[in-house]
Symmetry: C2
DNA sequence: CCACCTCTTGGGAGCGCTCCCAAGCCTACG
DNA sequence: CGTAGGCTTGGGAGCGCTCCCAAGAGGTGG
C-alpha cells in the first residue's frame, strides 16, 4: 500500500481519491457526480476510495469550475423579522430546510432592510452567485422581484405583489380563508360584520379583504364601507381601527381581523367598551398564532400552512433551477395556492 | 476608449478591472482588498474601474484561492425551530444579521435534526468550509461542540452545556433573572413559592432553578423540594407540573415557571382549581414572549436580550476568526453573560 | 481483414482569485 | 557618482473541480 502523497493538513482532494482508486481525475469526478458513463467496477473502486478517505467535494472549487453554487438565498425584509416573530418566520425556515434536507443545496439567509439595500442585494445575489432566490413578504412597490426577473435569476415569491406577478409564486388561500371566517360568523347569526384589514399594499391583506367582501355580498348583508377599517397588522393599529369601527357602527356584532395580533388589539378595545366576547361581539383572527391560542377567550382564527409553504416554495425553486440549467424554457410559471383552515375557538 | 475584450455574458473579472485601470491583476487585487501597499494614484484608478464596471468579486474564486469562505453557519436544532417560534429564533437571526450587516460575511442557516445528523454536519461544516459556527440551544449530550473544538473550527455557543464549556459562549443571565423573579414574588409577600423547571439538561434551565433556590434560601424560606416540579418547556408539561405541585403543596401562593409557555399551562390548571391570579397565587414566567403579553392576566416575565445575544455571539465569532487567521492563539475564551430584566405585569 | 462504432477513460484547459517572488524605480547615503 | 534599500508593481503558480476532447478497447458488419 504505497502511501502516495499524504497531504499534511487539508482534506482529501478529488485527485487523491482518483489515485487511491487507481483511475483518472475525470473518472472519479464522473462517479461522484453520478454520471452513467462509468463501468460498474470502476464506480465501486472510486466509491470505496471516497469512503476510505472521507472525501467531501470542495464547494468553492465546484462553484468556480461549474459556474453554479448549490446554494439558494432566502430573502427576508429585515424590518419584518420581528413582525415575523409569530411562527411565520421559523415555520418558513423549517419548511425550506425540510425540502432541502436531502439535497446538496445550502440555505443562505439574507436580511435586507430598505429598498436601497434590496436593490444592492440583487447585485450581490447574482455576483455572489446563488442558484436561486426565495422571496417572502413582498410589498407592492418592492423592486426586487423585477430585478430578479430581469437578471434571469430563478426565484419564487410568497405573497404575490399583484395578481399579474411574473415570478412563480406560492401563497396560502387568503381569499378563501377570509371568506370562511366571515361565513362562520354569519352561520353564528351575526349580521353586522366588520373587518380590520392589514396593510393593503401587501397582496395577502388585499385578498383577505376581498374574501370578506365576497362573503358579505353572498349572504346579502349590507356592504357598508364604514364596516371596513384599515390598519397595519400591529396590535395598536388593531385597537385604533376597532375604536373607529365602534364610533361609526356601534351596532357591530362581529369583527374579522386580518391578523391575530390586530384581533388582540381589537379585543382590548371591545372589552373597554363593555362588550363581551363572544356574547356581544364575535371576534375572528388570522394566522392561528400563539396569540390566538392564549387569548382570553381563545381566538377563532384562520390557519395558514406556513411550513408547507416553505416546502413548496423550495420545491418549485429547485425545479425552476433544474429547468433553467437544462436549457428548457419554463413555459408555465407555477402559481400555487395552498388551502387555509378555520380553527374555531371560543371567541365566536 | 478601446473596447477591450467585452465578455458577452458574465460579470466583469478582476483581470478586466485591471485592464481597464491600466494596472496588473495583482495590483487590482491589492486595491480591492485594501492593502496599504498601493500608491494613491493607482488606487484611484482601480476604484474608478471597479465603479464603472460594477465589479463584484467572485466569492467562489476567492474562497478557492484564499482558503476561506467569508461565510459563517448558524446551526439550529431543527427539532426546536418550532419551540423557537416565540421571538427567540427570529430575534437571534436579527441580531446576527445586524452584526454581519457591514461585513462581507454571509450567513448560512443549517438545520440539524438528530445527533447523527449533527455529527455528519461537523464534517460538512469543515468540508464545505465555513469560517466559523454559531451554535444555539445546545443540550448536555450534544456532540457538536466537542467536534468543532477538535476540528479547530472557530465557534461560539449560546446556552452553555455546562459551566466548563471549552468554546466561547454568550448567554443571558438566567441565574439572576430567576433570582429577580423570585425576589419579586417575595417582595409581594409570597412565602410558599414553587417553581416549574425546563429540561434540566439545558444549561439555562438548570441555572434558572439555581437562581430560584438561591433566592428562596436567601430569604430564609423553607426550601421544600416538593415545591420544585420538573417539566419540559411545553404548555402541557407546565400544566402537569402544576397539578403535581397543587397535589403536594395545596398551600402554594406563588409559582415561578421557567418559560412563559409553561406558565400558560400552569395558569390553566390554577384556574381550574378555582384559584385566582394573582389574588390567590402569583405567577411569573420567563422569556417575555407574546404569550406573556396576551395572557389573562398579562404575565410578569423575565425578558432576555435575545437580539443582542445574536449580535454579541456574532461579534465574538468574527473576532475569533480574525485571531485564528492572524495566527494568534486566543488565550481567553470569552464567556459573556448578558443581563435579563424583569417585566412586571398583573399576574404577580 | 479492415473500416467504423460505441463505451470508457485519462488528462489538458480553464474557472477567477490570492499569494508571493522578482523586477523596476526612486531616494538617500557614503 | 555608485550602490544599498524601500516602494510599487506585474504576473506566474496554483487552489480543486468540471468540461470536453481525444485516445484506447472491444465489437460488428461488409
Amino acid at each position: 500500500m504505497a502511501a502516495a502523497r499524504v497531504r499534511s493538513g487539508g482534506r482529501p482532494t478529488l485527485e487523491e481519491v482518483a489515485a487511491r482508486a487507481g483511475v483518472g481525475r475525470g473518472t472519479a469526478s464522473r462517479v461522484i457526480n453520478g454520471s452513467p458513463r462509468v463501468s460498474a467496477q470502476t464506480r465501486e473502486a472510486v466509491e470505496a476510495a471516497v469512503a476510505e478517505l472521507g472525501y467531501v467535494p470542495n464547494r468553492a472549487a465546484r462553484a468556480l469550475a461549474g459556474n453554479r453554487t448549490d446554494a439558494i438565498a432566502l430573502v427576508v425584509p429585515e424590518s419584518e423579522t420581528r413582525f415575523f416573530a409569530e411562527p411565520y418566520f421559523s415555520d418558513i425556515v423549517r419548511g425550506v430546510g425540510a425540502a432541502l434536507a436531502d439535497t446538496e443545496m445550502q440555505l443562505l439567509l439574507t436580511l435586507a432592510g430598505n429598498d436601497r439595500e434590496r436593490r444592492r442585494l440583487a447585485q450581490y445575489l447574482t455576483a455572489h452567485r446563488v442558484d436561486g432566490v426565495l422571496l417572502v413578504s413582498v410589498h407592492a412597490d418592492d423592486p426586487l422581484p423585477d430585478l430578479l426577473e430581469q437578471l434571469g435569476m430563478p426565484s419564487v415569491i410568497s405573497g404575490r405583489r399583484h395578481a399579474a406577478e411574473m415570478l412563480p409564486s406560492v401563497d396560502s388561500d387568503n381569499f378563501e380563508g377570509a371568506r370562511a371566517a366571515v361565513d362562520h360568523l354569519i352561520s353564528r347569526g351575526r349580521r353586522c360584520i366588520a373587518t380590520i384589514t392589514g396593510r393593503l399594499d401587501v397582496y395577502g391583506a388585499q385578498r383577505r379583504l376581498d374574501g370578506y367582501r365576497k362573503a358579505v355580498a353572498a349572504a346579502g348583508l349590507d356592504p357598508d364601507e364604514r364596516l371596513i377599517a384599515p390598519a397595519d397588522f400591529s396590535e395598536e393599529g388593531g385597537a385604533r381601527a376597532m375604536r373607529e369601527l365602534l364610533a361609526r357602527r356601534p351596532d357591530v356584532d362581529a369583527v374579522f381581523a386580518a391578523s391575530d395580533v390586530m384581533a388582540a388589539g381589537a379585543r382590548q378595545v371591545l372589552r373597554e367598551s363593555g362588550r363581551r366576547i363572544p356574547d356581544d361581539v364575535s371576534l375572528v383572527g388570522f394566522d392561528d398564532s400563539a396569540v390566538a391560542r392564549h387569548m382570553d377567550p381563545p381566538l377563532t382564527s384562520v390557519r395558514q400552512p406556513i411550513e408547507e409553504m416553505g416546502r413548496t416554495m423550495t420545491r418549485v425553486l429547485l425545479q425552476e433551477i433544474a429547468h433553467r440549467s437544462s436549457g428548457e424554457s419554463p413555459q408555465d410559471r407555477p402559481r400555487i395556492v395552498l388551502p387555509t383552515e378555520l380553527v374555531v375557538r371560543e371567541s365566536s
